[in-house]
Symmetry: C2
Subunit: 429 residues, 2 copies
């Protein structure tokens, strides 16, 4: 008997197949029993009648939630079923009978579920989110690979504090002080000068005392950097990437999005080019909407939400005041008080998903900026070398995966967008 | 003028193009000057004659190593050139003149180069290794994606010590003790029960007081896990994967392998199926070769080298004594003293590149093994839950990327197979 994944059942209509998985739920209407089996790729309804197979019918009734089993049966087209097919069961092999499963089909509290994250991820909703995350991550890579970017993994253990020390996790590195990386960007700039176009894609860490629905202590970030890429090229690269992510999920995960009750029309409304708003225009927009905000301040989550509400696509806010942005951002030659960079703010209040900029390529300007930001110049000598030896205009960006997935899936909290979230008060399981 | 990457020049023969990059070297034979330009995708020789362009000829002579520039010119087929083409230069735009470059074309010591890793990676040899690394990493993903595996990132910050505490990097997690992950496997087992077939691919950390040429403190590992995959399926999956990696590099990186002076015939000799040797047979082989080794001991690097020398493909050594392997490995039902797992040893003395096994699926056996290994049972309750609720036979493995890349590239030391290596005495730059 051929073992078939549930997601592929549609192409086996009329055939007898085997499926393997776990019992998600069952219900019975007297003489017909419906087993809902999940195998990680989808859910399918499997049907038994008392009349046709009384033995199996009784056996099935005793199978507990999350027990593992193999079912054999015939695939039948069934337009009313979520997968378009169901299975007429001809055989059941119980592999392991589950103890009473703690996560029942009723609602549970967040802490209860978080304590059982290793089981919670089996629920159809969580599994759908994780499948979409996997696709988003692969789509990031496919997009950059197709544009000649080379993966160059940045180190996690780092001696430098790239953007200040207050939010760093410190580790003891064979009796030296080291930190967990907050960004691979400085390393990306070095590898871009070696390989031309590069990206890194790994975990990054921020020890922020923050417990908003947008923050994790450990999150994954895609960071791309390219030699000879200017501010404008950089913006276009980013919008093409994000558009590609949305289209790829729409193409491959209709079923998962429906299961998540995502308003798909909101994703379909995303279109190129993305709107662009200067920081100064964004401040005016906030003020017009009765939202008090001073030029020179940084946006908080509520400000980003207000800005995003005016657009159906992600919106670039560009040319922030240099004072509130990282030291390495290239000043706008037309107005050096602002930088040639932009944040990309997701629709529907999901906040900033990308930060990017052209980088300073002039050695003396970069040295001055490091000092102005009170950073230790000696620790940045290697980074300054990139300007001593064949400096070129270059740009890059970082995309936060959890926020991007949360937005595309339409979920409330980023903690559901990663298999095992690390939050302020939680690193278990 | 169209900007073309050096790797793509071949398909522009006869056209006038622009290339952008850095001066790797130049030489002159009186009236002809040869500039070797690198752009991260390859090297190309660019030719100027004094007769045709006296001004450019003199300008070019003053360009220092690693200066950044744009060159325009006509692509000419040249069978003797490494790329098959060269450029007849018609224009030079110097972007930034490099200060005297520390890494000249003569030999330098390892520490000198390691201190300048951010520049060393620009050398043709290092760049070739990193390009191959990028391809190997993507080929891992493509292979698993094509077999319905879903990426499920494992956490880096972990509360548990999966395989003992002596080699863990400890971090302060908001005043709790936490560790940097040594393996995502336990988490993979949880996500496999949710998603069916999964992999994680991230940095892992071992605080080993080891400074051999095979060890790094921070290295990347591909770990795959699948429900309903048994020992035999697992072995086949691994050999198909490793074979795919070798074939992909042979297909796409002939030029890079030649630049590395890799003996390509050794890679071409890799064939399926890979040889398999039980641990007991391996002990006999060692003894036959006059290598003293006791049944029950673990292999060291010299033992693995001796074993690998008998084969042109990677070789599986299977059914190790349970006592020297991790607690979660399924005992062989025919002989419970050994486990249903295997290490894959690379040819040419590159050592173990994969460790894998079927996992224990029986709750009480797993509980007993945890106790026998003196591990804290309470910390493994979540892991035991995977056997309480729908346990299934499942297997998986972990592939070390740096060793795999070192073997494929034929390089001496794993430190050259990652952009910024972290070794016992070095975490800079």
């Amino acid at each position: 008997m051929r073992w078939v994944l549930i997601k592929n059942l549609k192409s086996h209509a009329g055939e007898e197949v085997e499926i393997r998985g776990w019992l998600y739920n069952q219900r019975s209407s007297g003489k017909v029993r419906f087993l809902i089996l999940r195998d990680g790729t989808g859910l399918v309804q499997c049907v038994l009648t008392k009349e046709e197979a009384p033995g199996l019918f009784d056996l099935a009734g005793e199978i507990t939630q999350e027990s593992s089993l193999k079912l054999t049966g015939t695939v039948r087209e069934e337009p009313r079923a979520p997968m378009g097919v169901e299975l007429s069961v001809t055989g059941i092999e119980l592999i392991s009978r589950a103890e009473p499963y703690p996560i029942t089909l009723k609602d549970h509290g967040v802490d209860f579920l978080a304590d059982r994250r290793h089981l919670w991820i089996r629920s159809p909703r969580q599994a759908a989110i994780l499948r979409i995350r996997s696709t988003v991550e692969q789509a990031c890579r496919d997009f950059l690979n197709s544009r000649d970017f080379v993966l160059a993994d940045a180190p996690i253990i780092t001696p430098n504090a790239c953007e200040g020390t207050s939010t760093l996790f410190e580790i003891n590195y064979h009796d030296s002080r080291a930190y967990l990386s907050q960004s691979g960007q400085l390393y990306n700039e070095a590898t871009a000068m070696a390989l031309g176009r590069v990206y890194c894609f790994g975990p990054t860490f921020r020890a922020e005392k923050s417990k908003t629905r947008r923050h994790l202590m450990e999150f994954w970030m895609l960071e791309a950097e390219a030699a000879f890429l200017d501010y404008e090229d950089n913006i276009k690269l980013q919008e093409d990437l994000v558009y590609h992510l949305v289209q790829t999920v729409l193409e491959r995960h209709r079923d998962d999005l429906r299961l998540l009750k995502r308003d798909i029309s909101k994703l379909e409304a995303v279109s190129l080019p993305f709107p662009r708003l200067s920081y100064t225009e964004a401040v005016s927009l906030l003020n017009e909407k009765g939202h008090s905000f001073q030029w020179g301040d940084d946006f908080g989550a509520p400000d980003e939400t207000v800005i995003s509400e005016s657009y159906s696509s992600p919106v670039f806010v560009h040319r922030f005041p240099a004072k509130i942005k990282a030291f390495y951002m290239e000043p706008d030659p037309k107005n050096p008080e602002v930088i040639l960079g932009a944040d990309l703010i997701a629709p529907e209040g999901y906040g900033e998903i990308i930060g990017g900029s052209q980088r300073i390529s002039d050695l003396s300007l970069l040295e001055r900026k490091i000092k102005e930001h009170n950073l230790p110049v000696d620790q940045f000598q290697w980074y300054l070398d990139l300007r001593r030896f064949g400096s070129v205009p270059h740009s890059g960006f970082g995309l936060g995966i959890e926020r991007t997935v949360a937005w595309i899936c339409g979920i409330e909290h980023v903690r559901e967008s990663i298999p095992f979230p690390r939050t302020l008060y939680r690193m278990h399981p």
